[in-house]
């Protein structure tokens, strides 16, 4: 069985995230890393590998040169190989275009299962799994807190606000997993060494028989990006002998929250 795990390279949320002059995410402003939410996807792919026989895990990313770091991290965690879709013409692609490119790459790799994160930590749309399932005509089994593969069937547990559901789908399928699916492993020293010998292929748009990509080909246009002024801190009081509670009650009463 072959599993593709999608890994996105994103700016660190604890750094200074910014937009560049062309209204795309400024990839130089903050350090980049493998999206934490995709670490959960890699982890689940590896667990399926460990539970089965002869399973290969391929980490796939689309992004500029630095995005190879996301693949590197996935390889260090234990993925077997990487594919990096990288092309100058990709810059500024929106979700519709990204899904076209990733779908083409997935078709070229030919996996039985694709595992994605629940959402990227920069764009945060949470739609890529659904878009890919639609484009590929595969079953969409998203937002899992538990996932397993049993023969040709993928099984998933997911929580909605009102219920817990158990989902089943025949492969091939697209699965997304949440941050409730279990902590991602740290790369071991042995795996960090082993990762250096693993194969990473770079593909450009030609390799995928695609022509149009990037901002020009996108279906949406960002016209403006503005940094919000930080909220000003209000009053901070120290609780002494019940003064904190008194302040709180006064605040609630004055603000007509009672």
């Amino acid at each position: 069985m072959k599993i593709v795990t999608l890994v996105k390279y994103v700016p660190d949320a604890t750094g200074d995230r910014e937009f560049a002059d062309d209204n795309t995410v400024d990839r130089d402003a903050a350090d980049g890393l493998l999206s934490e939410l995709d670490e959960y996807a890699v982890e689940q792919a590896l667990q399926i590998k460990e539970a089965g026989d002869d399973v290969e895990v391929v980490a796939l990313t689309m992004g500029d040169d630095d995005a190879s770091d996301a693949i590197k991290k996935a390889l260090q965690m234990g993925a077997d190989a990487g594919i990096h879709v990288c092309d100058d013409d990709i810059h500024g692609s929106d979700a519709m275009v990204t899904s076209k490119i990733l779908a083409a790459a997935i078709e070229k790799i030919g996996p039985d299962l694709v595992v994605t994160g629940m959402s990227s930590t920069d764009g945060g749309m949470g739609v890529m799994g659904a878009m890919l399932a639609e484009r590929l005509g595969w079953a969409q089994v998203t937002m899992g807190s538990e996932v397993s593969v049993d023969g040709g069937t993928v099984k998933l547990k997911r929580d909605t606000d009102t219920s817990t559901q158990h989902i089943e789908a025949a492969l091939p399928a697209i699965v997304s997993v949440t941050d409730q699916s279990g902590e991602a492993r740290y790369p071991s020293m042995k795996n960090i060494m082993a990762a250096k010998k693993k194969k990473v292929d770079e593909w450009d748009l030609d390799d995928l028989d695609l022509e149009d990509a990037g901002m020009e080909a996108s279906y949406t246009q960002v016209t403006e990006t503005n940094e919000r002024p930080p909220k000003e801190a209000g009053r901070v009081v120290t609780d002494e002998d019940g003064s904190g509670a008194a302040e709180l009650v006064e605040f609630l009463s004055a603000g007509k929250y009672l």
């Binding site: 920069d122 739609v127 937002m143 089943e168 960002v222 990006t225 909220k231 904190g244």
Partner: protein, 314 residues
Amino acid sequence: MSNVVVIAEVVDGAVTKPTLELLTIARRIGEPIAVVFGTAGDAAAKLGEYGAAKVLEVADAACAEYLVAPKAEAVHQIVQANDPAAVLFPSSIESKEIAARVAVKLDSGLITDAVDVQADGTATQSVFAGGWSVTGKVTTGTPVITVKPNAADPEPAAAAGTVEAFTATISDAAKGAKVASEEPKAASGRPELTGAGIVVSGGRGTGGDFGPVEALADELGAAVGASRAAVDSGWYPHAYQVGQTGKTVSPQLYVAAGISGAIQHRAGMQTSKAVVAINKDEEAPIFEMSDLGIVGDLHTVLPAASEGVKQKKA
């Protein structure tokens, strides 16, 4: 006048507040056609009251038996039959996924998590945990836009609200992900988190005892929220997590007790109108965004405040 397809959320027979907000926004663009999965019942009148000229009921059982794909086919067919100026969805996890598939089917642009939408379809989003505001537009196809709760104040505007059954044709291909079994969860009896006017949240600082948090919430008629640290510790169910990978709330008042204010938590509550924080550590980042900060132990401050509120109300 052109029409706008609006996907309505009806929970336990009642139209959700975000749906009323969505209808209010939709009217800026055209005449709303509301889509309800299942039966509309009493909800139809409410949808009409807020501007839905038509209410289309999609009753096909496949929509409940399989994930997302059947609903996307139904919405796509409704769009084809009505040629709307835009398709609007609430920004729930499931609705965003339906929207994504509809966008691909229509070969149209998709914008998610709008906090405002203008008459010409220009949408504003709040990104990077609220640090940036982004304005954009769909440039190709029929705009498919998902809108966050609290993007507008719901305004009534009576319309016919004529209920019609819409018979969707669901393909076998859409029946790929079967809901094999489903167990309902117990309801908390408190206001629904994302629409609540007041939210009282607890974090790691509760030490596992949400009693004082719940007590103040009940005194204020508020919803209860939790940080991920509290959820990961098993102290409160995940459905109540506020933040990047939980719920986004935008109440009049957000009370954070024993929560440090990590960027991923702030991502879910930064649009609250007022914030009060109770934290033992005067350096906690949550104080930087609080209207009132109380440096103290939540185990003493919260119960005393609940008691004070009770007396004030008496």
